[in-house]
Amino acid sequence: MVSAFQCGRTDLLKRYFSLIYITASELDELHAHGWLDEVDQLVTEGFVAVEELTDSEKKQAEVLAKRIAQYQKSANSDWHNDLAEAEAMVLMQNRIHLDIAIILLDEKAARQVANQLGLNLTGFPGILGRAGLDGILTKGEMRQLLKTCQQQGTYYGDKLIETLAENYGR
């Protein structure tokens, strides 16, 4: 969601999803990192729904966060930094009634764990790719959007950007 905020394209999220669930901790994390206005706007619109995890679910998330941290490139990775992704996985796994179709993850380590759990996943570049197939984004626009994210601290690799643009851009 941060990538969509960074490049100003939450409209693409709205095109492909009717509702995005996040946990209360994820909301706190977004607030703490300066995305308060953006995320609160989506909550007000009813596009983002905030779910509170139970104590037992929070414990499950801790276990998953520690697992994600083990896969991080940095050996000293603090598992607390992986709680948001872990909580999203617990939400998808446990709350069957929410009927969550797909989890949005860009971080490699979290994706590895989600794959192990058999969760259906995609990332922000995947959303841009779909938009390209639907004729909404040109190659140039895809490059520009992901470069904008890069400049703001989300370091999508140059090769990834080229792969995406060349294969999926209009």
Partner: protein
């Protein structure tokens, strides 16, 4: 307040992941579209009544078999495409 990325040093997905991501999203979207279509048609009282009638007759065990059998019968009636 300065806007930050929660984990700026985290390694992100690789180029080879992109294709699988697009495929996964496309599959999820198609599934939702199919579910919506199925819901819309099964919500129609006339369709619902016919399915119930097929089940009540004993020819079909459940809704799924009633729908499948109806389609097979239709295809038999109109013939296979050349």
């Amino acid at each position: 307040m300065t806007k930050q990325v929660p984990e700026p040093d985290a390694e992100l997905l690789s180029p080879s992941d992109v294709h699988e991501d697009v495929r996964a999203l496309t599959t999820a979207l198609n599934q939702r579209r199919d579910e919506r279509k199925a819901y819309e048609i099964l919500s129609r009282p006339d369709i619902r009544a016919m399915i119930n009638q097929a089940i009540a007759s004993g020819v079909c065990d459940n809704e799924e078999s009633a729908i499948e059998r109806a389609l097979r019968t239709l295809i038999t009636a109109v013939g296979q495409p050349r």
